[in-house]
């Protein structure tokens, strides 16, 4: 509240290109201080990445930048030029839900859903790196994604079921 903000009114405007979910987007006359989260949400209309804290604490804005899970609110949009950005909108491009998304629904892991897109991104990232996480590994991996509604219980169940289903599909 007491921070003296800077504004596009006092800093130079920039134009650049971002590559999001496999598509190039030209951003014109933007304030250079805009976060990736803000540009995704307000300039590109990709509002699936959420804005619960805008300070890197909640994970609701989780996206992949060149395959790395990051908080979009902590990345300057103009610094992501040249990177491959994947948002939740890119997680199920064909309109078919991913197994993680389906498991979230089937297990009741969604209440208000504000944390959900970030968690979907986090869980996919976790299972890619560690297809068989144990309970504590799951908890640690998603401990950067706050959820205020569910107490995480149904989310753990959804992850467990995804892991079990993937294991079943392999054998």
């Amino acid at each position: 509240m007491n921070d003296e903000p800077t504004s596009h009114a006092v800093t130079p405007e920039v134009g650049y290109v971002l590559r999001v979910n496999g598509r190039e987007h030209r951003i014109e006359a933007a304030w250079s201080g805009e976060s990736l989260l803000w540009v995704l949400r307000e300039r590109l209309g990709l509002s699936g990445s959420k804005n619960a804290c805008e300070q890197g604490e909640c994970g609701s804005c989780s996206v992949l930048v060149d395959g790395r899970l990051v908080c979009a609110c902590l990345v300057l949009a103009a610094s992501a030029v040249g990177a491959e950005i994947t948002t939740v909108e890119g997680a199920s491009p064909q309109g078919v839900l991913t197994d993680v998304q389906s498991a979230f629904l089937a297990e009741g892991a969604v209440q208000c859903g504000f944390c959900t897109p970030g968690l979907v991104m986090s869980v996919h990232d976790l299972l890619k790196a560690n297809p068989e996480p144990d309970d504590l590994e799951v908890r640690e991996a998603i401990s950067g994604n706050l959820c205020r509604c569910t107490g995480y219980g149904r989310i753990f169940a959804a992850i467990e079921n995804t892991v079990a289903a993937r294991r079943g599909a392999e054998s």
């Binding site: 948002t87 839900l97 009741g108 706050l146």
Partner: protein
């Protein structure tokens, strides 16, 4: 809306009452396509920002907006001078200014608002509004509120509520006494306060898309402040990212509409996290004193209590929060003699109001600590003591009300105690699972386990004579059912329940839930007080029954049979003589039926001068057993398990009930060991998720739950609301467990590491 796409294609048929129905909004939510109030966009929209007081208590000498107006990109700046209608609003009485004019009474109080073409320009302009203050002595200690100079024309007392039952002079063989305190908790919903206001072209009306818990009461307050007729202000619920009480009060609604009407353009406003801590009310901090009397066999004889809640600068719902705190101050026990005095007062601290549990959380922390003290003094088992005194059907509450519905407290307590315990702590327990978690700082040999127990009961619905009805409308158009109810879906899953109830009543699977608004349907009351399953569930059921009856009578007319001869058998309507045998979907084909119904609960009464009266509609009981591990040296606590049995009447969607229990437990655990808005000299010191901690996936214990289903007479489908009970007694259970592990008295929540470390240091000397 389809409920059978995506991962749900395995469902045989759409779910009905009692089944684990999927959310109709679920697919949108997992794909990031659900539109929350912070996601809205309108062509040409401006961005709003709020100017807030940097003083705790001060006279405003002047407000200079010229610097803000001169900022590039700024369109309008509004202050108290621009409020067209009532300058005040509020839930239990309108004592809160839309914008402070003469005086600011708490840090962060709104003084002006700005709209500009970019949020940063709006914030920059807001920072250029120059307010000149003349500081006043702040009233910060609630115990001084009644003797200090009034800090508001309405005085410093929100409510004093005495409760006198039985013989005030009764005494017991064993007497235990204690003082307790609870800190200020934040609802910490994830979806920030936000909305979009779109002015009518003539400027004499406005449309507001908003996150709220009660559309119609928002509308009435906004219209009054704007000086417009209520129907000129149209509210539509946008996606709500959690609520927990924090969206009961007005936050940015009036500011947003004023900016939009002044600018003649749509205006969007989104608080950031820091502003959110100033933008909504919090859970009242409390100071409690108790004295319990019991016979040697453990039978409670009398409870004396004094409760003091700090309501902060404005009234909000403080009147009714206190009503609850006092009504339930002795807990779910038979107590023949009760002497309670309770106060809710005004100070220059941040305003407090509704949060899940609504007053009962505070007193529960006190009465449950007392029950443990009493058990220790008597040499009884704490669970046995609670069982011996457990309240039930036919008993009377502290307020003299006889419990005419269900309240299986004894079963709740016994079944909670019987739930399986977690595995013992061993040398193989991973570091991550020990206190300190990811910090990996625990010394295993210094970690001690403790187990604690607590029970509670709470009212459902509004109380003290308030008729908090709900309205629903059911339209069947050529076999498609549309249900319209202004009930705010805040995450709890009411939209799922609407589909279940409509299908159950109508036996038609295609159900659409219309967006909640103030135009097409009457008030649904508030999404709070664990009331919507009962109240709006009841309204939806009644509207659907009316629509079903219309379909059946039309069918009787068409088929030339008596209405009375038609009965529903599964999904078919059949006549006794076999001439009619059709599905409800077929029977509804070609028809348009539109029925609206209001649902009222049984009337309640105000409490009299002795705090006696049938003030509450229904009650729900719950108990929690907590298992904790405590690092004695570092004072860190890991909550290992919460076991709970809850009296739910009937579970209409067991998975959703489980979600409410786990989510409520998380907030109760949070209050027990980490959550507190630190207020120092009236200033919030931790207005961020960096400093205000809520439980993460690593902090959250395993939750084991058991549902006790005794259908409640008068409740639609026998179901009780389930949202609040999980939060009420989980907090005292955790603290009881920490007491068991440490031997410390711990009379305040949250229990901080320093309370344990210093407490142990002082008891060692």
């Amino acid at each position: 809306m389809s409920t059978r796409d995506g991962g749900l294609s395995l469902l045989r048929r759409a779910s009905r009452v009692g089944e684990n129905a999927p959310r109709p909004d679920g697919t949108l939510k997992v794909r990031g396509e659900f539109a929350y109030s912070s996601d809205l966009y309108a062509e040409g929209m401006l961005w709003g920002a709020t100017v807030r007081s940097t003083e705790v208590h001060a006279r405003i000498c002047s407000v200079d907006i010229s610097g803000a107006l001169a900022t590039p990109g700024v369109h309008v700046v509004v202050t108290a001078d621009d409020v067209p209608g009532s300058p005040y609003y509020g839930l239990d009485g309108d004592d809160q200014p839309v914008f402070a004019s003469a005086v600011v009474r708490h840090l962060g109080e709104p003084i002006a608002a700005v709209a500009a073409d970019h949020p940063e320009a709006a914030r920059l302009a807001a920072s250029r509004v120059v307010v000149e203050y003349e500081p006043l002595a702040p009233l910060l200690d609630p115990e001084r509120a009644l003797t200090a100079e009034p800090i508001h024309p309405n005085g410093n007392l929100f409510r004093h509520l005495p409760i006198r039952k039985g013989d005030p002079d009764a005494t017991g063989d064993v007497v235990v006494e204690g003082s307790y305190a609870t800190g200020m908790q934040d609802q910490a919903f994830l979806g920030p306060e936000s909305g979009l206001a779109i002015p009518d072209s003539g400027g004499d009306g406005v449309e507001l898309f908003i996150s709220t818990q009660w559309l119609h009461v928002d509308r009435d307050q906004v219209a009054a402040c704007l000086g417009l007729e209520p129907e000129r202000v149209r509210l539509t619920l946008s996606g709500v990212g959690g609520a927990f009480g924090a969206r009961e009060d007005i936050s940015l609604q009036v500011h947003l509409c004023m900016l939009a009407l002044r600018a003649g353009r749509p205006v969007k406003m989104v608080y950031n996290r820091a502003e959110s801590f100033f933008g909504h009310v919090h859970r009242h901090p409390s100071r409690l004193w108790y004295r319990h009397h019991a016979d040697r066999d453990g039978t409670l004889v009398k409870v004396e209590a004094r409760l003091l809640l700090d309501g902060g600068a404005y009234l909000s719902s403080s009147f009714h929060v206190l009503g609850n705190a006092a009504s339930f101050a002795v807990g779910p026990y038979r107590v023949p003699n009760v002497v309670i005095d309770s106060w809710n007062v005004r100070t220059n601290n941040p305003p407090c109001g509704a949060m899940r549990g609504f007053g009962v959380v505070q007193s529960c922390f006190g009465h449950e600590a007392q029950m443990d003290k009493l058990a220790a003094a008597l040499g009884h088992d704490p669970v046995e003591l609670r069982l011996r005194n457990a309240l039930g059907h036919g008993d009377t509450c502290a307020t003299g009300q006889r419990i005419t519905g269900t309240l299986p407290m004894a079963e709740v307590i016994a079944r909670t105690a019987a739930l399986p315990l977690p595995p013992e702590l061993t040398e193989h327990t991973p570091m991550l699972a020990l206190p300190g978690g990811a910090g990996r700082c625990a010394d295993r040999s210094r970690v001690v386990r403790g187990v604690g127990f607590a029970a509670s009961y709470k009212n459902l619905m509004y109380a003290e004579g308030f008729d908090d009805f709900s309205t629903a409308r059911c339209r069947i158009d050529h076999g498609v059912v549309t249900v319209h109810c202004a009930c705010a879906e805040v995450g709890q899953g009411f939209v799922t329940l609407v589909c279940q109830i409509a299908r159950e009543v109508l036996r038609i699977d295609d159900v659409v839930v219309a967006p909640a608004d103030t135009v097409e349907v009457g008030s649904a009351g508030s999404t709070s007080a664990s009331r919507q399953t009962w109240m709006s569930g009841g309204a939806v059921e009644a509207a659907c029954i009316a629509a079903r009856d219309r379909v059946i009578s039309e069918l009787a007319l068409r088929s030339g049979v008596e209405v009375a001869s038609l009965v529903l058998v599964d999904d078919r309507v059949v006549s006794g003589d076999g001439r009619v045998d059709t599905t409800m979907t077929e029977a509804a084909a070609g028809l348009v039926v539109d029925e609206t119904r209001e649902f009222h609960h049984a009337p309640t009464q105000p409490l009299d001068e002795n705090g006696q009266g049938d003030a509450h509609v229904s009650f729900s009981g719950t108990a929690h057993r907590a298992v904790v591990d405590v690092d004695l040296d570092l004072g860190l606590v890991r909550v290992v398990q919460i076991a709970t049995a809850q009296d739910v009447g009937r579970a209409l969607n067991p998975l959703a009930v489980g979600g409410q229990i786990e989510g409520g437990v998380a907030q109760g655990v949070g209050l027990a060991v980490m959550e507190e808005i630190v207020v120092d000299g009236g200033r919030i010191r931790n207005a961020s998720f960096t400093d205000y901690l809520i439980p993460t996936a690593l902090d959250m214990p395993e939750v084991v739950w058991d549902l006790i289903e005794e259908p409640e007479p008068g409740a639609p489908f026998g179901a009780k609301g389930v949202g609040e009970p999980p939060v009420v007694s989980s907090t005292p259970a955790v603290v009881a467990a920490i007491r068991a592990a440490t031997g410390l008295a711990l009379d305040r929540v949250p229990v901080r590491p320093q309370d344990i470390v210093r407490g142990r240091a002082s008891t060692a000397t």
